[in-house]
C-alpha cells in the first residue's frame, strides 16, 4: 500500500512538471485533443472516411459537413480524424487486421529499441565496436532524410508497416548518438563500478543500471521524434508513398486537395495541413516545456 502510494505520488510529481510549464501545457492540450479525436473517431462523425457523396464534391464548411468535402464528396472531418487514428492510435497491418498504437508511435518505438541498443553497446564497450557502429550510423546520417525515405519506400512499397520500417531506419542514428553520449557519461559513475565489481553481466549493466538513468533526455527526444515521424508520414503521403489510397492519410489528402486550391476550394488541402502542423507543434511544445522544466530542477 505504501509503495503504491509512493508510485502514485511519483507519477503525480512527474505530471506536475508539465503543469509548471505553460509551453508544455499548451503542447499537452493540442496533443490530447488529437489523441481524443483519434480514439473516439467513429463516434464523432456520422460518416465513414470512405463514404462518397457524388452530389457534394469540393464543398466548403456546411452544416452537413462541417469542414467541407473533398473532390469525391467524402467528409473532410471524418477523413481527418480517421487519419489521426492511423497516425496515433492504430497500425493497420493488412486488410482489417490492425494493432493498437499509431504508425508514428510504432515507428519511433522501434527506432528507440534499435537506437538504444546500438547506443548502449557502443557507448559501454567503446573501442573498435563503437567506431564501427558509429561510422555506419554517420554514413546513414549523411544521406538526406527525404532521400532515405524515398529509397526505403520505393524499395519496400507503400504500406503502413513499411512506413514504420522507414521511420525506424531514419530515426535510429539520432537516437543511437544520443544514447551513446548519455552512456559515456553514466558509465563513469561509481554505481556502474559497483555493478562491475559484483561481476554483473554487461547486458544487465547496460539495460538495468545505465538505461533507466538516461530516460529523461530519451523521453524528450522521443516526443520530438514522434513529431518528425508525423511530418515524415505527411511527406511520404504527399509524394504518394504513404498509406495506399483510399485510406485517409493526411499527406495524400493534402496532395489531392492541392489540385483544387486554384479551382476555389482550399479546404481539402488546408485542414490536413493544419492537422499535421498543429500536432507536430504540439509535440514540440510539450517536449521543449518538459526539457526546460526538468533542466530547472537540477
Amino acid at each position: 500500500m505504501k509503495a503504491r502510494k509512493g508510485l502514485l505520488k511519483r507519477l503525480w510529481e512527474g505530471f506536475s512538471i508539465i503543469f509548471a510549464s505553460k509551453t508544455a501545457m499548451i503542447g499537452l492540450v493540442i496533443v490530447i485533443f488529437w489523441v481524443f479525436v483519434a480514439v473516439f473517431a467513429p463516434f464523432l462523425t456520422p460518416y465513414t472516411p470512405l463514404e462518397q457523396d457524388w452530389k457534394a464534391p469540393n464543398q466548403g464548411p456546411s452544416s452537413a459537413h462541417f469542414l467541407g468535402t473533398d473532390e469525391l464528396g467524402r467528409d473532410l472531418w471524418s477523413r481527418l480524424i480517421h487519419g489521426a487514428r492511423v497516425v496515433l492510435v492504430i497500425l493497420p497491418l493488412s486488410g482489417d487486421l490492425w494493432i493498437p498504437g499509431g504508425t508514428a508511435l510504432w515507428g519511433v518505438f522501434a527506432a528507440l529499441i534499435v537506437g538504444m541498443t546500438l547506443g548502449l553497446v557502443s557507448g559501454y564497450y567503446g573501442g573498435w565496436l563503437d567506431e564501427v557502429v558509429m561510422r555506419l550510423l554517420d554514413a546513414m546520417m549523411a544521406v538526406p532524410i527525404i532521400l532515405l525515405y524515398l529509397i526505403i519506400m520505393a524499395a519496400l512499397g507503400a504500406s503502413a508497416v513499411n512506413v514504420v520500417i522507414a521511420i525506424t531506419i531514419v530515426g535510429t542514428p539520432g537516437i543511437a548518438r544520443l544514447v551513446r553520449s548519455l552512456t559515456l557519461d553514466i558509465r563513469t559513475r561509481e554505481y556502474i563500478r559497483a555493478a562491475e565489481t559484483r561481476g554483473e553481466n554487461p547486458w544487465y549493466i547496460m539495460f538495468v543500471e545505465i538505461l533507466p538513468n538516461a530516460r529523461g533526455p530519451i523521453i524528450v527526444d522521443a516526443m520530438l521524434r514522434v513529431g518528425y515521424a508525423i511530418f515524415a508520414m505527411g511527406t511520404l503521403g504527399f509524394l504518394g508513398l504513404g498509406l495506399p489510397p483510399p485510406s485517409p492519410d493526411w499527406g495524400s489528402m493534402v496532395a489531392k486537395g492541392r489540385e483544387f486550391i486554384l479551382a476555389g476550394n482550399p479546404w481539402a488541402a488546408l485542414w490536413p495541413s493544419i492537422a499535421i502542423a498543429s500536432l507536430v507543434v504540439g509535440l514540440n511544445l510539450l517536449a521543449d516545456g518538459l526539457r526546460e522544466e526538468s533542466m530547472r530542477y537540477q
Binding site: 561509481e190 562491475e196 565489481t197 554483473e200 554487461p202 543500471e209 538513468n213
Partner: protein, 705 residues
C-alpha cells in the same frame, strides 16, 4: 602567526546583520541569517562550517554575485566606510577586481582556457586602471615572480591547461593581487589541491598577507587549514554564525557545542583507533527551509540542549574579549573538546608484525599496471612507432593478512586507485602475481568465479554517484544478496533490513530513493551494499573524503565497528593522512606508481621517514594553532608517469638527498634504491642509509600531545 588582538587595525569590511535569501518555488528561503563580522587591514578572518552552512553565500553576498534568485533581505555591508547594499551593478563591477578580489575553489574555472595567461593577467590591470599594455605586462610578470612561479616570462605566453593545478591557483591568486585589492575573498582556495601543493599555496597566502596588507576572508571546511591562516574565526552553522573569536581562543577553548563537535570529529595527525575514538555530531544540517526562527538552531543535534534552548533563539554570549558564542550555556559547558577515551576493546598497543606468514589473505608481487599511450602520429597508426606506456602502477608488492587494514596514501595521480582497481579486476593487470585466498586472480573481474568475486567488494568515494538514482535503497542492497545467493529468496528483505541496521539506518530507508538521502547516509548504504555479499576483503576508495567532517567521523566509526564484528580485512585509500593513520594498521605510501615506504602505521608516522613521507607529513594542515610543524616543501611538479625519472623516482624533488648523500645524491639519479628494513616489517625505499634517516626529527610537535 601574528595576533591582532593588541593593535586595532583599520576596519576594511564591516558586515552587519546580513540576511540573504534565495527565491524558490516554495517561497523565499533564508540561506544566511543575521551574520555580522568585521575584517581589518592585514587580517584574515576564517569562515568555517560544513557544507550548506552559508559560508559561500556570505562571500557572494558581499560582491553581490548571488545569481538571479538570490537577494539581500536585510543588513549592511560597509566596505571602507561605503555601503555596498543597494549599489548598482555598474558600481559594484568597478569595485570587484579593483578593490575587492576573489579566489575560487577551482582554478580551472577561474582561468579562460582559450586566452593565454599573460593576456588574462594584463587585462585585469588595463580594465581597471589607465596603464599601457606594456606596463601591465611587466607588472604581471613581477606579480608572477611574487607568487613564486618559476619562469614567469615564459609562463605569460602559456595557456591554463599547460600548467599544474597548484600553479593555476597561484596564477589566480596573482591575478587577484594585481590591483592591490583592499579585500581578498578566498572561497576554499586549496580544497581541490593535494596536500603538498596546498601547503605551498597556504605559505604563499600568508606571505602575501604580510606584504600587501589586504583584508582576507578565508572560507573553508577544513579546520586544519583555517588554523594555519586565520587570525579571527567565524564558525557558521545552518546559515547562522554560532561562534566568533580569535583562532587561538576558539581552538583552545571552544565555547559552542557545534565548534566542540567539529573539533572532536577530526582525528589529529598521529592518533590511531587503538587509543582514541572520534565523536561524530549526530543528525544532519537542516535544509534551509526547515530552520526554526525561534529556538537554537543546533539544539536537535546538541548533547547539552535543554528545554531552555528550545524557547528562544539564543543571542551572543561574550566568553572573553572578542570571543562570542551563540549558546546560552556558553560559560558553563565543559570546554574539554576531546575526550580521548579508549575504545571498549583494548587493542594490543605493541606494533605487530604486519607480514606474518599465517593468515595471509591477499598478496601481490611486482604488480604492474600500464596503460598504452596512443600517439597521434602516422607511424604509430600503422603500428610501427615505439609503444609508450603510462606506468600507473609499477613493481608494487604488498601482503595483507586477515583482519588487518592496509592504508594507502599518496597524492593524486600516484596510482593508488589504479592499484585497487587492478586487484579487484576493473583494470587489466599488465604483469605480476596477485594472489587472493590462495587463488591466482590476474584475470579481470568478468572472468573470475562468482565465489571469488563475492569475497572482495568495494566502497566508493563519491556519495552522489555510488548509488543508482533510479532504484530504491532496498533494491540496491538486495541485488548483491540475490546475485551471490547469500540467503534464500524469501529471506532477502530481512537480510537487507539487517544490513541497514548494521550501518545504523532505520527500516524506513528500504523504500527511499537515493536522492532523499544525505551524503553520509548514501555512503552508509554503499557500505551496506559492499557488506551484502559478506566479503573477506573490503576495499574503501576514499570513502570519507567527500563527506563533511562530522559525518566523516560517523562513517569511520561505522567501518571500524564493522571490522570488529565481521573481522573483515580492508584496504583503505585516502589522501588525508590523519584519517589514514587513525584507521589503518599498516600503511603504504605511494609516489608515482611505486610504494616508497610501507610498514605498521605507528612506524610510518615517526622517524625514520622516507623523505617523501616526511614532506607529506609536514604539509598536513593540523587543526591546532599551537602545534609546531616542520616546514618541508617539495619543489617542482610531479613528473609524468609516461616517462618517470630514472633511478629513484622521487629524486627530482627529494629535499634530503643533497644533504644526506655523498656527491649530492648522484646515486639517486642512476640506481634504483634498495629496500631498507627496520624492525616490525617497516621498509623504506631509499638510498639514504637508515642510520641517517633515523637522525631526522619528528615532523610534528604538538604541545597538547
Amino acid at each position: 602567526m601574528n595576533k591582532t588582538n593588541d593593535i586595532k587595525l583599520a576596519t576594511v569590511l564591516d558586515v552587519e546583520n546580513l540576511t540573504i535569501a534565495y527565491e524558490t518555488r516554495k517561497g523565499d528561503v533564508e540561506a544566511v541569517r543575521n551574520a555580522s563580522f568585521k575584517v581589518g587591514e592585514g587580517e584574515t578572518i576564517g569562515l568555517v562550517g560544513e557544507s550548506g552552512c552559508g559560508k559561500s553565500t556570505i562571500a557572494f553576498g558581499i560582491v553581490n554575485f548571488l545569481g538571479p534568485n538570490g537577494k539581500i533581505v536585510e543588513g549592511n555591508i560597509r566596505f571602507q566606510g561605503e555601503e555596498l547594499v543597494g549599489r548598482s551593478e555598474g558600481e559594484l563591477k568597478r569595485l570587484r577586481g579593483d578593490r575587492i578580489a576573489m579566489v575560487y575553489q577551482d582554478p580551472m574555472q577561474a582561468l579562460n582556457p582559450s586566452v593565454c595567461l599573460g593576456d588574462q593577467l594584463a587585462e585585469v590591470l588595463t580594465f581597471h586602471q589607465k596603464i599601457s599594455e606594456r606596463d601591465a605586462w611587466e607588472r604581471s610578470i613581477q606579480m608572477l615572480k611574487r607568487v613564486n612561479m618559476p619562469d614567469p616570462e615564459d609562463l605569460m605566453y602559456r595557456y591554463s591547461h599547460q600548467i599544474s593545478g597548484g600553479q593555476q591557483q597561484r596564477v589566480v591568486i596573482a591575478m587577484a593581487m594585481l590591483n592591490n585589492p583592499s579585500l581578498l575573498i578566498m572561497d576554499e582556495p586549496t580544497t581541490a589541491l593535494d596536500v603538498t601543493v596546498e601547503a605551498a599555496v597556504l605559505d604563499l597566502i600568508e606571505e602575501l598577507k604580510r606584504d600587501f596588507k589586504a583584508a582576507n576572508i578565508f572560507i573553508t571546511h577544513n579546520l586544519g587549514v583555517v588554523a594555519r591562516v586565520s587570525d579571527q574565526l567565524c564558525v557558521m552553522y545552518a546559515g547562522q554564525m554560532v561562534e566568533r573569536g580569535a583562532v587561538t581562543d576558539i581552538f583552545r577553548n571552544p565555547r559552542h557545542p557545534y565548534t566542540m563537535g567539529l573539533l572532536a570529529s577530526v582525528p589529529r595527525l598521529g592518533e590511531s583507533k587503538a587509543e582514541s575514538v572520534l565523536h561524530p555530531i549526530r543528525g544532519r544540517v537542516p535544509p534551509p527551509a526547515q530552520r526554526p526562527m525561534n529556538k537554537c538552531i543546533f539544539a536537535p543535534r546538541c548533547d547539552y540542549a535543554t528545554d531552555e534552548c528550545r524557547k528562544a533563539l539564543p543571542g551572543f554570549v561574550e566568553v572573553s574579549t572578542g570571543h562570542v558564542s551563540r549558546c546560552i550555556y556558553a560559560k558553563e559547558i565543559d570546554s574539554q573538546p576531546r575526550t580521548t577515551k579508549k575504545r571498549h576493546i583494548e587493542k594490543n598497543l605493541e606494533p605487530t608484525r604486519s607480514e606474518s606468514p599465517e593468515g595471509k589473505l591477499l598478496s601481490f608481487e611486482d604488480l604492474k599496471i600500464y596503460y598504452p599511450q596512443e600517439s597521434q602520429s602516422l607511424v604509430s597508426l600503422l603500428g610501427l612507432g615505439e609503444k609508450k606506456f603510462v606506468k600507473a602502477v609499477d613493481d608494487v608488492s604488498v601482503r595483507l593478512s586477515k583482519g588487518r587494514t592496509l592504508g594507502v596514501v599518496g597524492e593524486s595521480g600516484c596510482g593508488k586507485s589504479t592499484l585497487v582497481k587492478g586487484i579487484i579486476g576493473l583494470e587489466p593487470v599488465t604483469a605480476g602475481d596477485v594472489e587472493f585466498l590462495g587463488i591466482d586472480i590476474n584475470q579481470p573481474v568478468s572472468e573470475r568465479e562468482t565465489n571469488l568475486i563475492k569475497e572482495m567488494q568495494m566502497v566508493f568515494q563519491n556519495p552522489d554517484s555510488t548509488l543508482n538514482p533510479s532504484y530504491s535503497i532496498g533494491k540496491q542492497i538486495a541485488r548483491p544478496i540475490r546475485r551471490f545467493k547469500t540467503v534464500s529468496r524469501d529471506q532477502v528483505k530481512g537480510e537487507v533490513i539487517r544490513l541497514l541496521k548494521a550501518v545504523r539506518l532505520d527500516e524506513i530507508y528500504y523504500d527511499r530513493l537515493p536522492r532523499q538521502l544525505s551524503g553520509g547516509e548514501k555512503q552508509r548504504v554503499g557500505i551496506a551494499r559492499a557488506l551484502a555479499s559478506r566479503p573477506d576483503l573490503i576495499i574503501c576508495d576514499e570513502p570519507v573524503s567527500a563527506l563533511d567532517v562530522s559525518v566523516q567521523a560517523a562513517v569511520i566509526n561505522l567501518l571500524l565497528e564493522i571490522q570488529e564484528i565481521y573481522g573483515s580485512s580492508m584496504i583503505f585509500i585516502a589522501h588525508d593522512l590523519s584519517v589514514v593513520r587513525f584507521f589503518s594498521d599498516d600503511i603504504a605510501v605511494m609516489y608515482l606508481g611505486q610504494i616508497v615506504e610501507i610498514g605498521p602505521a605507528e612506524a610510518i608516522y615517526s622517524p625514520p621517514y622516507h623523505p617523501y613521507t616526511e614532506a607529506l607529513l609536514s604539509a598536513v594542515p593540523i587543526p591546532d594553532p599551537d602545534a609546531e610543524q616542520k616546514q618541508i616543501r617539495l619543489g617542482g611538479n610531479v613528473p609524468s608517469a609516461l616517462n618517470p625519472p630514472s633511478g629513484c623516482r622521487f629524486h627530482t624533488r627529494c629535499p634530503r638527498r643533497k644533504e644526506m648523500l655523498p656527491n649530492e645524491g648522484e646515486i639517486c639519479e642512476k640506481e634504483v634504491p634498495p629496500w631498507c628494513s627496520t624492525e616490525y616489517g617497516h621498509r623504506i625505499f631509499c638510498h639514504i642509509p637508515l642510520e641517517k634517516l633515523k637522525t631526522v626529527e619528528a615532523v610534528v610537535h604538538s604541545p597538547t600531545a
